[in-house]
């Protein structure tokens, strides 16, 4: 199960991207997403694709690994593609423009195809870029980065900390729960119910039977975690220092500025063309 879900785990390669401040990376991520949403033509998207390719190569994580992150999303991507293809075709066909072919109620057009491919491209870029963020940043650094970004915005100091703790715990729990589910699946397999040998109906039944023990396990873990946080004197709002300080370097500024140009550029193209 964990073999397939690889997004969300850091891959240490020691690249420059790994060394960037998490705040810079998160900001870049947000700016990149904004640029993706604002871009509605092929030239803009190709620029974004080229730039993200450069960043991906700079992480020194094999590109094949990035492609693997798309695998769990393949059905959603296909759905988006088909939806855009058919919906886009309808509007364009009404305008009597770029007709390709018609089969009963289904009409395909060049514009529809282009729109569908654009939508897929956007999605792929977004997934891959998110994967880049998690491959190069540990969950704790990620939440520290978010905390650092929210802190100036939130009025009372504890809001950011609360949110960051919540996020950190949530991130911590995802692999823990997967592991727990996997262990139970193994325990079941050891006693003659092997998930991999089952048909779809049996699989569904087995997964349902996981629900209760995994939830119970999650509550047990949560309880232990609260106790251990309290036992070690953790209090929301109490003054805390960090073992590793976040340091904003010049490279972080350049990285952020570069990505800040993207949505601005996309907006300009959109307004002028």
């Amino acid at each position: 199960m964990r073999d397939k879900l690889i997004i969300g785990r850091m891959i240490p390669t020691g690249s420059r991207v790994h060394g960037l401040d998490p705040r810079a990376k998160i900001t870049a991520m947000l700016l990149f997403t904004a640029a993706l949403i604002l871009s509605n033509g092929w030239p803009q998207l190709l620029v974004l694709a080229a730039l993200s390719l450069i960043v991906l190569l700079a992480t020194r994580v094999p590109l094949k690994t990035y492609l693997r992150t798309l695998r769990p999303m393949r059905w959603l991507i296909l759905f988006v593609f088909l939806f855009q293809l058919l919906a886009g075709a309808g509007t364009e066909a009404a305008a009597g423009d770029g007709f390709l072919w018609t089969l009963g109620p289904i009409t395909l057009s060049a514009a529809g195809l282009s729109a569908a491919l654009l939508a897929v491209m956007r999605m792929v870029l977004l997934i891959v870029f998110t994967a880049m963020l998690t491959f190069t940043t540990t969950p704790s650094m990620l939440s520290r980065g978010i905390e650092g970004l929210i802190k100036p915005i939130s009025r009372r100091g504890t809001g950011a900390e609360r949110f960051s703790l919540m996020m950190r715990l949530a991130l911590r729990f995802i692999p823990a729960l997967l592991e727990e589910a996997q262990t139970i699946l193994k325990a079941q397999a050891a006693r003659g119910a092997d998930y991999e040998e089952m048909n779809l109906k049996e699989k569904a039944r087995l997964l349902m039977s996981l629900l209760v023990p995994v939830t119970v396990g999650a509550f047990r873990r949560a309880e232990e975690l609260t106790t251990s946080l309290e036992a070690r004197g953790y209090r929301i709002g109490a003054p805390r220092t960090s073992y590793r300080q976040l340091i904003w370097r010049r490279a972080d500024t350049w990285f952020t500025v570069l990505f800040a140009l993207l949505p601005v550029g996309a907006l300009l193209v959109r307004l002028t063309v």
């Binding site: 964990r2 891959i11 050891a190 003659g192």
Partner: protein, 356 residues
């Protein structure tokens, strides 16, 4: 529990060497890598070669992360090797093979996991106990009978059958977890640190039970532990692992000669071995004897040796009784013969040699 039944090392050795046993588990050049081919690949086993005979009780020891649990999971096909071959009973597991119909193997090779609460997933103890037998093709009635039998064989009463598994105490949960495996009647029983959450009385009780399953019912038992001393008496053979390799396979007598390496392998040297090492250095005549498997037997052998060498060199005469005196918690055991009596009464346990 009943510590004195297996105390005589000699008799045990004789039994082990008595006749050739059938090899039921054989690993050849086995490698295992987790998530092979992905960026998270982590090698867990390297070039492991191992043979295990039917009806033996094997202790598997090693520091954390040495591959003990991975080894167990390879033996019932939960994991397939990424290199080499694993033969268990009449099944051969090879890298990349299609995992089909392994239930025939898993019915015969039971595995009890490290954490009992991850082992129990149904809403009553009875359902959990019946899960295995039902999957292995028994009827509901048969499964119910087997469930009750397995529970009783672990020394638990039928009143637990309708309880929720997670409402049990730690010790009960552990026993139920083992019973769920026993319910299917496996020929090979593998246990991953089964004594970890038990107190010392429950631990001895469990090991006596495992020894009985092995001696009386002829089952093969593989038990992972990081407390060598708890299994020293019962184990026929030891497998020690370090960093994914098998670094030692042999009986306790051979293990005594490797105490220094045990430390390097990340294992605590059992007090009993440390004590024997110390005494064999002082009294050379002890070195020729097999390792007494229990603290009581060891105390008796040492005390007899001390008495035997009463007229011997000064060093021994001075140091021996003093050391016994220092280590014995009971007051008044001034002479070796009194130490023997102490030992016979069985009150000594592991404090026998707590000298350093």
């Amino acid at each position: 529990m009943n510590g004195m039944s297996l105390t005589d090392g000699q008799h045990e050795k004789g039994r082990a060497a008595g006749h050739e046993r059938e090899t039921i588990i054989e690993l050849r050049n086995v490698d295992y890598t987790y998530q092979a081919g992905s960026p998270f690949a982590a090698a867990a086993l390297h070039d492991v070669n191992l043979k295990i005979q039917r009806g033996t009780l094997i202790g598997i020891a090693g520091g954390t992360g040495c591959g003990k649990s991975t080894l167990l999971q390879l033996l019932n096909g939960l994991l397939l090797p990424t290199g080499g071959s694993v033969r268990v009973l009449d099944h051969t597991l090879l890298p990349g093979m299609k995992k089909l119909r392994l239930n025939a193997l898993r019915r015969r090779v039971g595995l009890s996991f490290q954490f009992p609460e991850q082992h129990l997933f149904e809403d009553t103890v009875e359902k959990d106990l019946m899960f295995g037998p039902l999957n292995f093709g028994f009827t509901r009635e048969e499964a119910r009978t087997k469930a009750a039998e397995a529970l009783r064989s672990m020394g638990l009463g039928d009143e637990l059958l309708n309880r929720h598994p997670l409402s049990l105490s730690g010790g009960q949960m552990r026993k139920v977890a083992i019973a769920t495996v026993l319910a299917a009647g496996p020929e090979v029983l593998m246990l991953d640190e089964p004594t970890a959450t038990l107190d010392s009385a429950a631990r001895r009780e469990l090991i006596a039970l495992l020894a009985r399953l092995c001696r009386e019912e002829g089952r093969t038992i593989l038990m992972v532990t990081h407390r060598i001393e708890e299994l020293l008496e019962a184990a026929d053979e030891w497998v020690v692992m370090n960093e994914g390799r098998i670094v030692f396979q042999g009986d306790a007598d051979e293990l005594v000669d490797r105490t220094n390496e045990l430390r390097e392998w990340g294992l605590a040297v059992p007090e009993q071995l440390r004590c024997w090492e110390e005494w064999t250095a002082r009294l050379p005549q002890l070195a020729a004897l097999p390792l007494p498997r229990t603290p009581e037997a060891m105390a008796r052998v040492i005390a007899e040796a001390v008495r035997g060498s009463a007229g011997a060199p000064d060093a021994v005469r001075v140091s021996a009784p003093e050391s016994i005196h220092r280590s014995a918690p009971a007051p008044g055991s001034e002479s070796p013969s009194e130490a023997v009596n102490e030992a016979r009464s069985g009150e000594w346990e592991h404090d026998l040699c707590a000298t350093n």
